[in-house]
């Protein structure tokens, strides 16, 4: 549905994106994570056809964003980082204008404006002037603008930035709802958001795609990713280190005569550990897998190479 193939972009001599490739399948919701200035907005602008890439190509629904921009623009709904509003317009006039830009006139225009306002929770707000709206409502109008033509692909640049917690919740519910029928890419630097609504995420930093996968895969990919916590008595840590696959054994402390250990291994060592404990008479009272939080994984991945 969305394909980026070796995309690079430079602003003058300064590279903003270097060799970014990914695909997003139909019906997926993908979170685009990265620190500020990482290249998230640039990537999105290339996908929408607003900016041409310096090298590489991007396709949406099979159409090249550079060679067939009209086909792409018809299929994409785009919410830029700050909602593109005309402050002196009323909500109704603005959305009517957007509907016409999208090729809907007359009754169809009225119907679409009414429906999209309902959808984003703006019903009854036709007469309000955009310049007087609060950040949350401006964001809703921005989203309405991206949804009016019911696009197959939604590209949302920080859709929840600047919203209060209730509004964030509402926006997430809305996005989850949209995700059922559409392909969505959304950028954010709020990790909780990705955990809440995106089954898959991509981490971009310094203009490069650093990691991509499900939340769990990202946690595993992070440097110092998965480890196992062990509480054991009657065993020598060196013996545990000698078990097949185990790479690192670090003491964490001790309590009630039990030794607490951090074990890292090439593959899941839990079964081998349990069997060894039974065979050698070790007293094992805890054995659990530990994943870094998404935040730790993110920091680990972003910090890598930089």
């Amino acid at each position: 549905m969305i394909e980026a193939i070796h995309i690079s972009k430079s602003y003058g001599p300064r590279p903003a994106l270097q060799d970014v490739s990914f695909t997003v399948e139909r019906g997926e919701v993908v979170g685009f994570l990265g620190p500020n200035g990482a290249g998230k907005s640039t990537t999105m602008r290339i996908l929408t056809g607003f900016l041409p890439a310096t090298a590489g190509e991007a396709r949406i629904c099979g159409f090249d964003v550079f060679d067939q921009p009209m086909e792409v623009k018809r299929r994409v709904g785009y919410l830029p980082e700050s909602p593109p509003l005309y402050p002196e317009f009323s909500v109704g006039d603005y959305l009517a204008f957007i509907a016409e830009l999208r090729g809907f006139y007359g009754m169809e225009r009225t119907r679409r404006v009414g429906r999209v306002m309902e959808r984003v929770g703006l019903a009854g707000w036709e007469q309000r002037v955009l310049g007087s709206l609060s950040k949350g409502y401006r964001q809703r109008v921005g989203l309405a603008q991206a949804l009016i033509h019911e696009p197959e692909v939604l590209i949302l640049d920080e859709p929840t930035s600047g919203l209060d917690p209730t509004q964030v919740q509402g926006m997430r519910d809305l996005m989850r709802d949209l995700a059922s029928t559409r392909t969505v890419i959304l950028s954010t630097h709020v990790l909780a958001e990705v955990e809440a609504i995106c089954p898959r995420a991509m981490i971009i930093a310094g203009g490069r795609l650093r990691a991509s996968g499900t939340i769990r895969e990202l946690q595993q990919q992070a440097p110092g990713g998965v480890w196992y916590r062990l509480e054991i008595a009657g065993a020598d840590p060196r013996e545990i280190g000698g078990l097949p696959g185990v790479t690192v054994v670090e003491p964490l402390g001790s309590a009630d005569g039990f030794l607490q250990l951090r074990v890292r291994a090439a593959s899941d060592p839990r079964e081998a550990l349990a069997q060894a404990a039974a065979a050698r008479g070790w007293r094992l009272r805890a054995l659990e897998e530990r994943l870094p939080s998404l935040e730790e994984a993110f920091l680990g991945i972003v910090g890598r190479e930089s």
């Binding site: 041409p52 009209m70 593109p84 005309y86 402050p87 002196e88 204008f97 016409e100």
Partner: protein
């Protein structure tokens, strides 16, 4: 075909922008006030039942005030991030440029219509030459079309409104000044460059002459600046 619908949509939106903000009203009020002043002075000083002095002076006034009408167009769209929305909407860029130009030209036409009171006054007290009146108005309208195009171009160059307005006036000034080149340059040099001047071509309209060369001049002037605007917007994406 969809291009013409988007042109219509853009035109409506720009006109609405003019009329929901104070710009259109303040601009027309100031313009008509100054026009009234020129009219009064022109008629009382020459004693003629003609609009010659008024319309000639309005052309020069427009060099300075029309860029103020157009300066906000692209500068403001860029500042509010709406240019990104327009450029990711399925409409051709020429419709964006054309719609904005048509809207500013429409506003100019409305204001010129507002000066229609002066010919009526003349007709009441004297016997104006209606043919001359028509060509002078046509000339001034073509000047407005040209200036709006140049103003849009300056607005596409820079994000700051005031700077865009000043650049617009600076672009237009040489087209006025070359008409006065004989004050500075040898006669044959001046004669060679004077056809570049807006006033040179406007002059025949003000003498009641409709010459195709003058029409072509204004069409070309407008066309070139609208084209440059389009190219300038297109090229800014590449930086």
């Amino acid at each position: 075909m969809t291009g013409f619908w988007s042109l219509w949509t853009m035109w409506k939106k720009e006109l609405r922008s003019y009329f929901v903000s104070p710009i259109a009203y303040v601009f027309s009020a100031v313009y008509l006030f100054v026009a009234g002043l020129f009219f009064y002075l022109g008629v009382t000083m020459t004693g003629e039942a003609s609009m010659r002095v008024l319309l000639g002076n309005l052309a020069i006034l427009q060099i300075f005030v029309l860029p103020m009408l157009t300066m906000r167009h692209f500068a403001e769209e860029r500042r509010q991030g709406t240019l990104e929305m327009l450029m990711t909407a399925p409409i051709p860029l020429w419709a964006v440029v054309g719609g904005k130009w048509l809207a500013s030209v429409t506003l100019c036409a409305l204001i010129l219509a507002g000066t229609g009171i002066f010919p009526m006054v003349l007709a009441y007290y004297g016997d104006p030459d209606w043919g001359l009146m028509f060509t002078s108005y046509l000339g001034l309208f073509l000047v407005s079309c040209s200036f709006c195009a140049a103003g849009l171009f300056s607005s596409s160059l820079i994000d700051d409104q005031m700077a865009a307005g000043l650049i617009g006036a600076v672009i237009l000034l040489p087209f006025w000044l070359v008409g006065r080149a004989n004050a500075l340059l040898p006669d044959d040099w001046a004669a060679a460059i004077q056809p570049l001047s807006l006033l040179y071509h406007l002059d025949s309209f003000n003498r009641g002459v409709l010459d195709s060369v003058d029409l072509y001049y204004f069409f070309a002037f407008t066309g070139v600046f609208l084209f440059l605007t389009w190219r300038s917007l297109e090229s800014r994406r590449w930086r």
